[in-house]
Symmetry: C2
Subunit: 150 residues, 2 copies
């Protein structure tokens, strides 16, 4: 992982559908060399996926919430979460609560119905998202002086 790799990842973060030929022009390196570097970045697990980012509002998902859980039935809760498409993210956290989930639902009413289903797992606190200032910022636009690069 050097500056060229960092540039490749950065370009693919900005636009995952960029042609390799365009990247190769951008960083002044031959196209097969970029292809091989990209293959290694995927193999090493630096790049784990390429995703289209979808606007939830355009799919009718108008309500977002974060929910904190305090539960003893962890295994059951994880199984429930995996089978609930409303739950987009699932984190284990330290502190008073032991789980944090991000939920997307159609309306506040459907969100309420979903939260009622969750009550069996223990105490919870719901944080309704009023607006998103930004989301999913680049991990590469940082001061890279402390990066784990050789």
């Amino acid at each position: 992982m050097d500056r060229v790799d960092s540039k490749i990842v950065s370009l693919l973060y900005e636009n995952a559908r960029i042609p390799i030929s365009e990247m190769s022009r951008n960083i002044a390196m031959s196209q097969p060399a970029v292809t091989e570097r990209l293959r290694k970045l995927e193999e090493q697990g630096v790049i784990t996926a390429y995703r289209a980012k979808v606007d939830p509002y355009k799919l009718g998902l108008h309500t977002m919430a974060f929910v904190l859980f305090k539960t003893n039935t962890c295994k059951d809760f994880v199984a429930f979460s995996e089978s609930s498409p409303e739950i987009v993210d699932l984190y284990r956290i330290s502190g008073e609560y032991n789980f944090l989930i991000k939920v997307l639902s159609e309306t506040t009413e459907s969100m309420t119905r979903f939260l009622e289903k969750c009550n069996v797992f223990g105490f919870s606190t719901t944080l309704i998202v009023l607006s998103t200032d930004f989301e999913d910022r680049s991990l590469l636009d940082r001061d890279i002086t402390n990066y784990p690069f050789p």
Copy 2:
């Protein structure tokens, strides 16, 4: 937005670098027709971006946290957040706290230093992420009977 569009978005969620020709074979529609539908999905804002998903651990970012804030200086806090690369997500929420941020930092020590900088904005509660069970689940693998499709 019909079933074909839904399939296109779904395929691009699974792999944003899939060739249009492969999608066209998958859904039995000509390549220019898929190209045109994709153009419209982007134009309508259903698809907002294509992103390479990067493993933060592989970049040396070993510590993730969610931080809740109770602040009066909203404008200043947003400006601070925008200029802080550690902050990946920024949400305004309802309830006792008015902001929720997701933070990625190198170590617990660098996270601590960052959190100290945040203290000027008001009261905060930090939730350290111990592990991520899943993140960024598909919005399209739902029961689409209630979808806002014609």
